[in-house]
Symmetry: C3
Subunit: 122 residues, 3 copies
């Protein structure tokens, strides 16, 4: 088990705020050591385009950052309740991303398991 | 003791955001199991109308949801510092709700006791 | 070790929100007992003027509150990543404040050590 584990609450909208998400992840790995911190970002609400295919309204300009983060070991998951509210199906999600039953449930489960919590956005 | 315990930080304003509060609570109970999670929502700042009587400016259209949540076992409490700042007295609070000395103190005490924390709102 | 320890996530902008930061700190100490709670406020993003010298764009009207909080035992630290993004050097920081490598890293480290977490702002 890595020394630090943190679940990120990501419900924010807009390119500036999404840029900050990836900057935050980079800063966290640089500060704590990439091998020393396990990161899971839980995407919900208006942040859903980060993890959805371009033809379904996904934010294609962020997908290289999403894919790079996942390939480097960061987990990024999409809330299935958010998917339902936006009429999205599992095949609409980027193939390298995953989903969780509910963002809020996931954020609680991880904290019950001892993970730290951060709400991103101002 | 239930497996999961979570304190919700609720200081947001507006019908859309208040709808999301109750949707979040429903999603949380559906995901984790209503018998498996203890929930306390701490209301402060501009969210005060959720727990205040209509004749004192309370948000009457949300009171059925507030009452249903409390009757189903969710605890919803109002910050007494917020009450003072808004010239509200204890009889102005909905009879089925409770108060706490300070929202911020309550949110810390619960975490010291091992509860998870979620900041609601974008 | 004090009974309660809490790290505050402070990235908000504007006089109203900064007033609320210090009101929150006062309320927390009044509720839990000043000798019973250890508080560290982590300043980042658009909140940086709170801890920066007036001649570098600091929010001089808040500095008496900042200094009083620090002298009373509250730790207030500025994110060095935020400093770089705003072209600020260590001598630009108020002499009684400190800095941390990254806000996000500090907020995780403290939680790993058992501290509670609060995101300030609505």
């Amino acid at each position: 088990m890595k020394k630090h584990r943190v679940v990120l609450d990501i419900g924010i909208e807009g390119a500036d705020k999404w840029e900050a998400v990836f900057r935050n992840i980079d800063n966290l790995r640089a500060d704590l050591g990439a091998n020393n911190v396990e990161i899971e970002g839980v995407i919900h609400g208006k942040a859903w385009p980060l993890l959805v295919r371009p033809e379904k309204g996904g934010a294609v300009e962020f997908h290289p950052k999403v894919e790079a983060a996942i390939r480097s070991g960061v987990k990024l998951v999409l809330c299935e309740n958010t998917m339902k509210r936006n009429k999205l199906e599992k095949p609409d999600v980027l193939p390298y991303a995953a989903t969780v039953t509910s963002a809020i449930g996931e954020l609680v489960k991880k904290q019950t398991d001892g993970w730290a919590y951060l709400k991103l956005g101002v």
